[in-house]
Symmetry: C2
Subunit: 363 residues, 2 copies
């Protein structure tokens, strides 16, 4: 058998090339290629011989060579801000992978946590592989997004876009937060606290980043105003969580402790994510109170909700669809099937579980 090519590891397993197949089938590489991509006319007899040869040689197309030749890699680079401890991004990644595979693309993933420098290097790596498009699932730094954009690479930003370039995909946080609040109000609550991450300024580049928290907070404020409830001292902001110290004993825990010490303490809490809500549940438990009997809690993201005690009422984000849609937009743009720079907002859904109950208590 033909073994003239390189075989670095000496495994004797150099994979067959088109040429190998062609020789076995007694045709040229062109014909083999035609058979494999089912284009152009090939006689049935030849076709059969070629397919036999493909099977006999164990031929496997070389994506490297194809990409180089076509100046199209069919690779999408996916930059994930973080995946720990928040499974949200894992689902985004899955959605992205499924969509890409369905369209014949491969996803290159980089977990960049929240580091601008790591993100920059990942962009360079992806461009080195001549990725046809990029997806930033929550960009760490606007500069990186704009850099890629300036190079003409089709790209999408998922949640918390950092700038106005490329496709932007967000969650409609406001209405779902309003729904969560309405749920509490319908249960009879009027004294509802808000435990969230720090709000960033409304202007400047941070405005984009902060809109998730801002929308959730605005919903709380607006509903409270609509029902004519007092809000003094009921909104607590702090650091949602630190990636390297995943624990419920952070801001959610501490803020709730303070709320419970208030003379006129709240009867319900809207937390801006499940991690904060987990901290709230912990504080409630330690204070000897019961949820939802003494106080109701609503989370956001629906990541930990199903594992907490009691099962947490939370707002579920369309994570998988977010990833899939971002990839679809980018591929459509690459293939000239869709316009660039689309802006889309997907709906989230309130999942009612057991951490919310009526007030005043019926017993």
């Amino acid at each position: 058998m033909n073994r003239k090519a390189t075989d670095p590891r000496g495994t004797g397993a150099r994979s067959a090339t088109l040429k190998d197949v062609a020789e076995v089938a007694g045709v040229t590489t062109t014909t083999v290629a035609r058979v494999l991509k089912e284009s152009g006319y090939v006689a049935d007899a030849t076709k059969a011989r070629v397919l036999d040869a493909v099977a006999a040689t164990g031929y496997r197309p070389n994506s490297l060579a194809r990409s180089l030749r076509q100046s199209r890699s069919h690779v999408i680079g996916h930059l994930l801000k973080s995946t720990v401890p928040n499974p949200f991004y894992v689902e985004v990644a899955r959605g992205a992978e499924e969509e890409a595979r369905a369209r014949g693309y491969t996803i290159l993933t980089a977990n960049v946590q929240h580091d601008a420098e790591t993100e920059r290097r990942a962009v360079e790596t992806f461009l080195g592989w001549r990725a046809d498009g990029l997806v930033f699932s929550t960009p760490a730094d606007a500069a990186n997004v704009e850099y890629a954009q300036s190079l003409g690479v089709p790209l999408a930003q998922v949640e918390r876009p950092r700038s106005l370039v490329g496709h932007r995909l967000v969650v409609r946080n406001y209405p779902s937060a309003v729904a969560a609040m309405r749920h509490l109000v319908d249960l009879g609550h009027r004294r509802i606290a808000y435990v969230g991450a720090e709000l960033l300024p409304e202007t400047g580049p941070a405005a984009l980043y902060g809109y998730v928290e801002r929308e959730r907070f605005d919903a709380w404020r607006d509903v409270m105003r609509d029902i004519g409830a007092a809000t003094d001292g009921l909104a607590r902001f702090g650091e949602a969580y630190t990636i390297d110290q995943p624990t419920a004993q952070g801001h959610g825990y501490q803020a709730t402790q303070m709320l419970l010490r208030m003379a006129d303490r709240p009867t319900a809490i809207l937390a801006s994510n499940d991690i904060l809500a987990a901290g709230a549940l912990q504080a409630i438990h330690e204070a000897g109170l019961r949820c939802p009997d003494d106080i109701s809690v609503v989370g956001f993201d629906d990541t930990l909700a199903g594992f907490l005690t009691p099962l947490l009422t939370s707002v579920r984000l369309p994570a998988r669809r977010l990833g899939a849609t971002a990839v679809r937009m980018v591929i459509d743009e690459i293939e000239g099937k869709g316009p660039p720079g689309q802006h889309l907002a997907l709906d989230a859904e309130l999942v009612v579980r057991r951490s919310t109950g009526p007030f005043p208590l019926r017993r």
Copy 2:
């Protein structure tokens, strides 16, 4: 400026090639290459001109071309069994990525959940990209691993190896489970229940897969025997969790309900993972009991532990190191720096939090 090459999207952003740089610097591609990889003699003056040209053209090496030419892609394919809802695999992925980047490799990831067919396709994709090595972070099907092995691709299996090929990396579950049990025994517990996933047969291909659960169970059984405690009715097996219905209300919950109904109910529970432990906490809470006052709980994996109420005592797995080490072994083999087929076991560590307390109660 030279724009003869393809520019499919008409962005005017065709990236510069070695040739472009060479023309600007007034040398040949050979010289540019020499400067870039800092090998061979290049006059300082030429070097400077080349570097200027690199900067001026915005040259970025084409990994596709380099890989094709060298028959070495510097790509490692990473097959992840699942990432939801268990953050364990996310950490494995991070470890793998960090190690790979440090060694100049790129990781291609595929989330294959638990599906053998998806896994097979991912292997094909990776081989299509001529990955230099593969890492199966918990293989779904032995056949896929053996197939890759038969092709001579260096590979590693992380936890739950399905066959005896390639590098195998596991966690020393037994001693850490013994440590967890000793912790409970030291607290005065003698009636300790075990809530785990179904044990698979000890022989046949499933034996490899089942060893994780088997080791954790064996530790429970052995310690119980050592302290002369009765074990009748105290071991409960079931489905740990279903990927698409992430909830604490599964086996852990139900098994604990049954345990709590026993006449001589256990004073502590060893759960074989945090999800089962979350279910146990839920059942305890709903039964009107308190943890650890009435019953202690120990989890495994330390994934949800930090978010549960009360904070769960759990065994932390060296997830990041697992991923990094698997990649290191594979790269070492690729580069001829290490032997193939290594078998390594890493230690896990008991993290004591608040779900475990003394028995009998001191109050």
